[in-house]
Symmetry: C2
Subunit: 332 residues, 2 copies
Amino acid sequence: MQPQLVALDWGTSSLRAYLLGPEGHVLDQRSLDRGIMQLSTIPRTICGESTNDGFELTFDEACGDWLDAYPDAAVIACGMVGSAQGWQEVPYCPSPAQAADVAAGMARVRTLRGIHVHLVPGVLQRSALPNVMRGEETQIFGLLQSLPPAERDQTLLVGLPGSHSKWARVVEQRIEHFDTFMTGELFAAASAHTILGRTQKRSASFDSVAFERGVAVAMSPEGSIGVLSTMFSARSLGLTGQLASSEQADYLSGLMIGHELRALAEMLRQRSGLATLPAVVLIGNGALCQRYSQALALCGFSSVSQAEQATERGLWSLALAAGLVAQQLQEV
Amino acid sequence: MQPQLVALDWGTSSLRAYLLGPEGHVLDQRSLDRGIMQLSTIPRTICGESTNDGFELTFDEACGDWLDAYPDAAVIACGMVGSAQGWQEVPYCPSPAQAADVAAGMARVRTLRGIHVHLVPGVLQRSALPNVMRGEETQIFGLLQSLPPAERDQTLLVGLPGSHSKWARVVEQRIEHFDTFMTGELFAAASAHTILGRTQKRSASFDSVAFERGVAVAMSPEGSIGVLSTMFSARSLGLTGQLASSEQADYLSGLMIGHELRALAEMLRQRSGLATLPAVVLIGNGALCQRYSQALALCGFSSVSQAEQATERGLWSLALAAGLVAQQLQEV
């Protein structure tokens, strides 16, 4: 199959590159620890020109060989590469936003190779407390592609766990509303830079019991005092011999994710006026989605599934919507 | 006046030393950046014995000259110096606890000088999520000493802002219940080690408007989603040009303190069944108490006062309760 699209998911800490053929078929893929904060820095000559531009160097490292072999392939990139700290800033697309809106907002940057990289805009929600995403919109559109056409117009609740987890309500294929929780990044900061970290002994394996105990505390009457207070129990339970050092990290993880999901559930119930909670589709890293699935079940979310290949499918569908690639017709 | 007591408030990051005369009169005082995590390390000879023990060295640095001059003075110390990481671990006194209980639980460590340092135990509350304090109990007893005798048996709500703020209910001079919030330490960790810090520009002066805006967000309907989510607004308001870099630190501070106080107010109203909130007495660093006073007013706490000299008064009253010093009689 002839490669048609080089698709990049270029975030803060990593870069994933896909070589896609007709209908978005994945022909090759690779992952680099080259997020926009960890760009290549060693000057090199690219297409006869010496450069020390980190974006050029990293781009060439990620997919220069693919472009040498398939110079006619289009190139698309989503994520923080389009932020103010990225290769070129792409203004946010306002919500509600569907794939066509986001595709129409793409910007392009011309590389030393003379080709254009099409940068996907993020989505901005102008609520009282504004919200932004960059990259997650692409994954949501990819999820929609993976659904049977009859299901795409349903209302969906999509969870995207990560350093900053996002929870998006998708209505008729539009990103209608979303919230951000800094749970992952705060867990890391609390574990590395507060007194809680001093007694944590990280174990290689996931302590499911300690994790679920943390979730249960967040959901309990004691949890209503909020995470700023309950977090201290990771220490006080340790001091009183009720929580081993090796259990403290997963307990704290469960506690913090539990507070996120408790708040989410309360908000959803308040908005809908219903006691039942909607079905959830998760997108993201497998191990983290597994934690969230486990916690969601404890919080009363009875239907949880996980989307596969959302990023590459989303990049393909945005490239299609922007006319960078063409829908495959029946081959003659 | 003849000095009677050397009183130390020896915490994690600092050491304050008081030389107290009859009736706890402060004759001299000093402050050192020598918390139990920053002990002196340069070996020295003390009373003819060479030592590299950080507690001995720091103790001598803090009050060796006082003890040379007044070798009969008693010595008392409260705070983390009595923790597992301290000079000697002193088991916690269980709550509810009054001064006599805490005084009875003191341990003593013999120094190279041949004298004893009396270490004040902390207080442990064996609730479902246990709580501990070390040092704050002494300040609370000091506050009680500063009240007119007729008011000491009233029920008090005492707030002790700090890296970990404590909120204690004091009934008939007993510490009856308390909660801990890690607000201060998490604010510091979030500012130094998450994406929120990257756009913060610290200004020398306190931005009262930004601080109050943060408190108001925490108290608003949007605040009910919880601090893990609202914190992201320090970034998203910045990205959308609604919050300057120089405002972000005090906004975040107000937001986090606001979430603490919102949870506290909800808990108090739930417990009492009353809409009105009790009077609050604050103990601690002046600037931080000023922030809390401002936020408390916005959260509906109409009566807020601040205690003075709570630490030295508390150390004196515990020394009295333990018989280390005597109540002054009419001089003949």
